[in-house]
C-alpha cells in the first residue's frame, strides 16, 4: 500500500502570551482556522482546542480503528465501540512540559465475543496502533480501561 500523507496548517500571530493561532486540517478541510492560544491551552479551554486535544482526538481515532481492525480480523466485527481518550501534559523537572500520559477508556458491544478474546484484541490494537507505538517509544504512559457489553 502506498504511503499516506496528511497535512495541517497553522498561522500564529504575535508573541506567546498574548498571541493567537489558527489551525486548519489542510488535507481534508474537515476543520478550518480553529483558534487557539496559550491561556486556553494551559488553563480553561473556553471553547478553544489545543495541541493536546488534537492528540487526544488522534490517539482515540487511531486506537478505535486499530481495535475495529483486530476484532474484524478475529471474525467478530464490533457492533459499536465507544472510546474516550484523555491526554495529560505536565511540567517535568528538568525537562519542561511533556506529554506524560494517555488514558483510553473503551466500551465495546461485540456479538459473540468473550472476555478473553476481547482482551486479546485490545492488546493487539495497542501494539498495532501507529500512534500508540510512537507514544510508547517516547516514554508516554498509556492506560487502557475496558468494558465489554454482552452482545448475546
Amino acid at each position: 500500500m502506498p504511503r499516506i500523507v496528511r497535512d495541517a496548517d497553522v498561522v500564529w500571530e504575535g508573541n506567546l502570551a498574548r498571541g493567537e493561532g489558527a489551525i486548519t486540517a489542510a488535507s481534508s478541510g474537515a476543520f478550518t482556522a480553529l483558534p487557539y492560544s496559550l491561556p486556553t491551552r494551559i488553563a480553561a479551554p473556553e471553547g478553544k482546542t489545543s495541541p493536546e486535544e488534537l492528540l487526544a482526538s488522534a490517539h482515540g481515532g487511531c486506537f478505535t480503528m486499530s481495535l475495529a481492525g483486530e476484532l474484524t480480523a478475529a471474525g467478530t466485527p464490533p457492533g459499536r465501540l465507544d472510546v474516550h481518550c484523555r491526554i495529560t501534559m505536565d511540567e517535568v523537572e528538568g525537562q519542561g512540559h511533556l506529554i506524560v500520559h494517555s488514558a483510553l477508556a473503551v466500551r465495546a458491544r461485540v456479538d459473540g465475543l468473550d472476555a478473553e478474546a476481547f482482551a486479546k484484541a485490545v492488546d493487539a490494537a495497542h501494539e498495532g496502533c501507529s500512534f500508540s507505538s510512537l507514544l510508547r517509544a517516547a516514554g508516554v504512559g498509556i492506560d487502557i480501561e475496558t468494558t465489554l457489553d454482552g452482545g448475546d
Binding site: 497553522v10 488535507s27 481534508s28 489545543s50 464490533p78 491526554i87
Partner: protein, 145 residues
C-alpha cells in the same frame, strides 16, 4: 500544573465497511467529525484522520514554542505560518514528519530564525512525544518583505 484534554470517538461495524466519528472534544471546538478507513488510507474526501490530527497538533505546538523562543530572544514574531505533513505507511506506522515554517519576524536574520525554529522543533511537548518518528525534516525561512 497538569493539563488534561479529552476526545470521544465511536465506531460501528468492521474496519473496512464500518465508520467512526470523533464525537466531540472537551473544549467543544470541533466535532462530530466522521472518520473511515478508506478516507484515512486513500483520498481524504473531506474526512480527517489520526495522521491529519497529529499534523495539526504538531504544527500548533511548534508554532507556539517558536513564538515563545522568538519573544524570549527579543524578536517576537508578527506572523508564523507552519505546515506539517505526516506520512503513514500501513503495516509500518508513521514514518515521516515534515515541518515547514515561514516567519515574519522583525529584527532577526535567517540563521537566527533557523536556530530558533530548530529549538522549537526539538523542545515543544508534541515533538518530544513523537521522537519515535524515524525521519523529521524542518525547513524554516523568513518571509520576504
Amino acid at each position: 500544573m497538569a493539563t488534561d484534554r479529552n476526545a470521544k470517538v465511536t465506531w460501528t461495524g468492521s474496519l473496512m465497511d464500518g465508520s467512526g466519528k470523533i464525537e466531540g472534544v472537551g473544549s467543544g471546538a470541533f466535532g462530530p467529525l466522521d472518520v473511515t478507513w478508506a478516507s484515512r488510507a486513500e483520498e481524504p474526501a473531506g474526512l480527517t484522520s489520526p495522521e491529519e490530527l497529529i499534523a495539526a497538533a504538531w504544527a500548533s505546538c511548534v508554532s507556539m514554542a517558536l513564538a515563545h523562543g522568538l519573544a524570549g530572544a527579543g524578536t517576537p514574531p508578527e506572523r508564523l505560518e507552519t505546515s506539517v505533513t505526516v506520512s503513514f505507511q500501513p503495516g509500518e506506522g508513521i514514518i515521516k514528519g515534515a515541518i515547514e515554517i515561514v516567519g515574519t519576524v522583525p529584527g532577526i536574520d535567517h540563521d537566527g530564525f533557523v536556530e530558533q525554529a530548530e529549538g522549537a522543533r526539538r523542545n515543544c511537548p508534541v515533538s518530544k512525544a513523537l521522537t519515535g518518528i524515524p525521519e523529521v525534516t524542518l525547513a524554516a525561512t523568513l518571509a520576504t518583505a
